[in-house]
């Protein structure tokens, strides 16, 4: 009898905690979805606005659904309206950015792989100081190098050119790429390298035969990181280039700020999406590697 009583009160208690748990669960999902809508809100507004006509924009609200799939403002943002002066559009600047990003990512990744390899597998006296020396470059505020960089680019005759921007992005990418490769190669057993050295394999042979074949993940992380950083850069682009040599972020900013008679928000939003889509695609396809880059050594510029 007593046993029975006990168990029923226990059941009651359990029932109660089941309800609290359910409530907690709902609360959890509610908060998570609330934040998700806060994060998705600007993207949603960008997309629907880019599909509306200016008339619809004036009459509807931020959230209202467009009347149809109207890609006119995308066409204007990408290719212009087809008349001469004052017709700015993103197409040439998009290609500028591609021409800037590809070599800059390639060179900075290559240099990072080499330095990371030496710093972990061909250690020399004072190598940790050299690493620290390079690492500090991740953190300097670029304002402290803008003035001399502008003069140097001028002296080299590559100011306001894509070549100049490739140089800038390659150099200031090296600390990050070195960090990535160094932290990755540290975990590769040095015995492998030692054995290969005893077998008479040289510096490059060991790199190509032993390290490169297992480097795919870190190469992906580094390439994605560098691609995102360089594509999204505005400070260097706006300081060292203007007019025709500008990369897309600079062009986007100029387009949005240009004070033509009527502000066309739909074209602005379409332009912003065009400028953001490459990195967004990379993020969606390879988010895992993107996050690894972000948290890798938890260093972020």
């Amino acid at each position: 009898m007593q046993d029975n009583l006990k168990s029923s009160s226990y059941q009651q208690l359990e029932q109660k905690s089941k309800y609290t748990n359910m409530f907690l669960r709902w609360f959890l999902y509610f908060v998570l979805i609330l934040f998700a809508s806060y994060f998705i809100f600007p993207l949603y507004v960008m997309v629907v606005t880019s599909l509306k006509t200016m008339e619809e924009i004036r009459q509807g609200t931020l959230l209202s659904w467009p009347s149809g799939l109207n890609f006119d403002s995308w066409a204007v943002a990408w290719g212009g309206r087809g008349y001469g002066a004052g017709d700015t559009f993103l197409k040439p600047y998009f290609w500028n950015s591609i021409k800037m990003v590809v070599p800059a990512v390639f060179f900075s990744t290559l240099i990072g792989a080499m330095t990371g390899y030496v710093l972990t597998k061909w250690r020399f006296k004072g190598d940790s100081w050299v690493f620290l020396f390079l690492l500090f470059g991740c953190f300097i505020p670029f304002q402290a190098i803008l003035l001399p960089m502008a003069r140097t680019l001028g002296a080299l005759g590559i100011s306001n050119s894509i070549v100049g921007l490739v140089l800038v992005h390659t150099v200031y990418g090296i600390p990050f790429t070195t960090l990535f490769f160094r932290n990755y190669y540290v975990s590769v057993p040095t015995e492998l390298v030692k054995a290969a050295r005893i077998d008479g394999a040289g510096f490059f042979k060991i790199f190509f035969k032993i390290l490169l074949p297992i480097s795919a993940p870190i190469i992906v992380v580094t390439v994605i990181w560098q691609f995102t950083q360089i594509w999204n850069d505005f400070l260097f682009g706006s300081t060292f280039s203007f007019g025709e040599a500008a990369p897309i972020q600079v062009a986007l900013n100029n387009m949005v700020l240009s004070s033509t008679s009527v502000k066309e928000y739909n074209v602005d939003m379409a332009s912003a999406i065009i400028a953001g889509v490459p990195t967004l695609i990379v993020y969606v396809l390879a988010g895992k590697y993107f996050i690894r880059g972000l948290t890798s050594g938890a260093v972020k510029g």
Partner: protein, 291 residues
Amino acid sequence: MFKWLEKNLPKIVMAPAVGLIGWFVYGFVLWTLYISFTNSKILPKYELWGFGQYEKLWASRKWLISVDNLLIFTALFLIFCIVIGIILAIFLDQKIRAEGVLRTIYLYPMALSFIVTGTAWKWILNPTLGIQKMFIDWGFENFTFDWLVNREMAIYTIVIAGVWQSAGFVMALFLAGLRSVEDEIVKAAKIDGAGLFTVYWRILLPMMRPVFFTSFVILVHISIKSYDLIVALTQGGPGISTTMPALFMTQAAFHKSQVGLSAASAMMMFMAVAAVIIPYLYSELRRENAR
């Protein structure tokens, strides 16, 4: 000759990186430091002038406003990013369905440039057609939200956009931190009768001290360097009410021909970053050596 080459090959391979960073980072910073002690206007002059530029800088109203704004922005940016980041990380850690999708949504702003997101926020926050109009159309006729064009409030729009962009990053850091804690610790605490709240508040969060430290350093670093977001959102306006040090520096250097003054402001930024980063690197290296 060949022997020598073979022996020194690793150092030769290292040379480009060390040379480039030595010249383009350290050399350039020293050059900027030197110029900050000269009376350079349009072009750099090399005669030393003492601390004149620094005196001018700290007497400049615009610089003082920049520093004020930076402090306000940094404080709010830190608090909101860390609080939101921790809440999201803890909530996501409860075996949530569709965790992957939610995580992707929280973090995608990090993949976009501040210019892209600044453009979007500028449109959303503009009083004529943005949020304000939305609420008025919904029937809240007296609703006003004009922060973007309000001198007193414009700085907070930058906080809104900045937090939106970076909170997901803090979430990722803390989620990774929480996931690295061994299950046994949590289980043991639960057996001892600790509730979920106690487990997090008393056990897990205190264990996250390095993650707090890392987030702090990175967020402060982002906020000192913030430039793109302000250019895209307010360009320092209305008036100069949202100007910040990075904007001050580029304007002085490239629009106002105050090369010496801009160098001085750049060095102030450099010192602020160094004050945060050097202890961080020191402790990171010590942790690594201890391993």
